[in-house]
């Protein structure tokens, strides 16, 4: 989600326009009234203004668009099948290392010290004792080779291992009928997912990538992996988990990205 737009267009139709249709109407072109053509050209120009910069930033337009986004949240929750598994792939297809992505560049990553790191638990859970990395690693390990899809359009296949989020939520005796599971991160990133997705068999608190401890640039010591959501829905460098009924939003979700973002 970096600022990258070319200021000039490199777009040229490779084959050009089919000339036969113009040839067909050659007598018309020759006899056209210039004024008529101009008038119609103007109305077409007015139509293209629709795509201009003004309309999108109007508050009323923003309101309509966000209304549709909330409608899409509801449709996606309805479409979501809690038993449907994301396709899995072979070890040979795993991309190493994984692709870096954050709201800043890779050399701005601040590594987390595992000796002092703790995972805080908050909200609707009975056991709120903070977790050390050793204690997380003592829970049964699950593993998956699935496709990671970014909202930007790129994807890769990765192998993630860690603790099932459902198992973790059961261990802390969380209220599994709550609406949201929210995450806060060491890098001031935050995010939240719906409980149905949190309980999906392929949703995990990830400690390892490709059988190695997950690297500093990719969320060490703990990141979320949700095989049924877009990449930005999976916070990295997690420092706290909260179970709640109050909509928590998130870093990109507060910046107009669709909240549910299910795959």
């Amino acid at each position: 989600m970096s600022k990258r737009f070319l200021s000039h267009s490199l777009f040229r139709p490779a084959s050009g326009i089919d000339q036969s249709t113009l040839v067909e109407n050659k007598p018309l072109i020759q006899s056209l009234e210039r004024r008529l053509f101009l008038r119609q050209g103007l109305s077409l120009g007015a139509l293209t203004l629709l795509t201009g910069c003004d309309i999108s930033n109007k508050e009323s337009v923003q309101g309509v668009l966000k209304g549709f986004s909330q409608w899409n949240d509801r449709v996606q929750a309805w479409l979501f099948d809690p038993t449907k598994l994301a396709p899995t792939f072979s070890e040979a297809q795993v991309v190493k290392p994984p692709r870096f992505n954050a709201y800043y560049s890779v050399d701005e990553v601040k590594p987390v010290d595992p000796a002092t790191w703790k995972l805080k638990v908050g909200g609707l859970a009975k056991d709120k004792r903070p977790w050390t990395l050793d204690r997380i690693n003592s829970l049964p390990k699950v593993s998956q080779i699935t496709r990671h899809v970014c909202v930007e359009g790129w994807d890769y296949i990765g192998k993630w291992s860690g603790v099932s989020l459902r198992r973790f939520l059961e261990t802390i005796e969380a209220d599994l009928s709550a609406k949201y599971v929210a995450f806060k991160c060491a890098d001031d990133y935050s995010g939240s997912i719906d409980m149905a997705s949190a309980l999906h068999p392929q949703t995990q608190l990830t400690t390892h990538y490709a059988d190695e401890p997950i690297g500093d640039a990719y969320g060490f010591p703990l990141r979320l992996r949700v095989a049924t959501k877009l990449g930005f829905k999976m916070p990295k460098w997690i420092t706290s988990i909260e179970v709640t009924n109050d909509y928590p939003g998130g870093y990109w979700e507060d910046r107009d990205y669709n909240w549910f973002s299910g795959l």
């Binding site: 989600m1 326009i17 067909e24 309509v64």
Partner: protein
């Protein structure tokens, strides 16, 4: 105009529902292509192909950057995922009407390869291939059916990109996520090229444009500016 000049009667070529869905579709296509180009620019499939910012939909980049720390990518996504409802619901209404009323079969089929060849040959010899606006010639039939197919495939590939896990059978049909992206892009390209021809011809033969607004044409009139006044 002299009194001896008798104009033939107007006939209805485009029923109200066809005109309505046509213009809603026009708006939907502008929204989908405009926002799609902004989304595409963020991570292009072909590095040589980028769309000029002015032709894309997604708000003022500076304003959006100040608010959202991106240059309108999020706004383009909002447009795209809202516009898809307009595009798909309107498309279903049109197709349901066109199929149930028999219009689709009657107007666009059969498409005979021989007639296509003849129409192209006539066109190359500067012979007007469609002097009667109430019927489509073979090339028109082919182009309209083609663009309808491209729009249906655009919707299906788009749906698979939106829901690659829930609709994973579709994604494997497209040979993976990037395959679906490519198909989606190619459908857009086909629609955009069609639009160039379609809009150009509608402006060159204004009777067709008026017909899509009023619904009526004079069937016997040869194409000339006489009736455009």
């Amino acid at each position: 105009m002299t009194s001896t000049h008798v104009k033939p009667a107007y006939v209805l070529v485009h029923p109200g529902i066809v005109r309505l869905t046509h213009w809603i579709n026009a708006i939907a296509i502008i929204i989908m292509i405009g926002s799609g180009w902004r989304i595409y620019n963020n991570v292009p499939i072909f590095s040589a192909i980028q769309f000029p910012l002015w032709a894309t939909l997604g708000g003022d980049p500076d304003l959006t950057y100040a608010r959202n720390s991106d240059v309108g990518f999020s706004n383009a996504l909002l447009w795209h995922l809202a516009g898809m409802w307009l595009f798909v619901v309107n498309g279903i209404v049109y197709l349901a009407y066109a199929i149930l009323s028999g219009r689709l079969l009657g107007k666009f089929f059969p498409i005979r390869p021989r007639e296509v060849a003849v129409t192209i040959a006539d066109t190359l010899r500067f012979r007007l291939a469609h002097d009667n606006l109430t019927i489509y010639n073979a090339v028109q039939k082919l182009l309209y059916v083609g663009v309808i197919a491209a729009m249906i495939l655009a919707a299906i590939s788009g749906l698979s990109l939106w829901k690659p896990v829930q609709l994973q059978a579709l994604i494997s049909l497209f040979q993976g996520f990037q395959g679906a992206r490519l198909v989606h892009f190619l459908c857009m390209s086909a629609i955009a090229l069609f639009l160039v021809v379609h809009v150009t011809l509608a402006l060159l033969v204004p009777q067709t444009l008026f017909a899509m607004i009023t619904g009526r044409v004079r069937p016997a009139s040869r194409i000339s500016l006489e009736s455009a006044e």
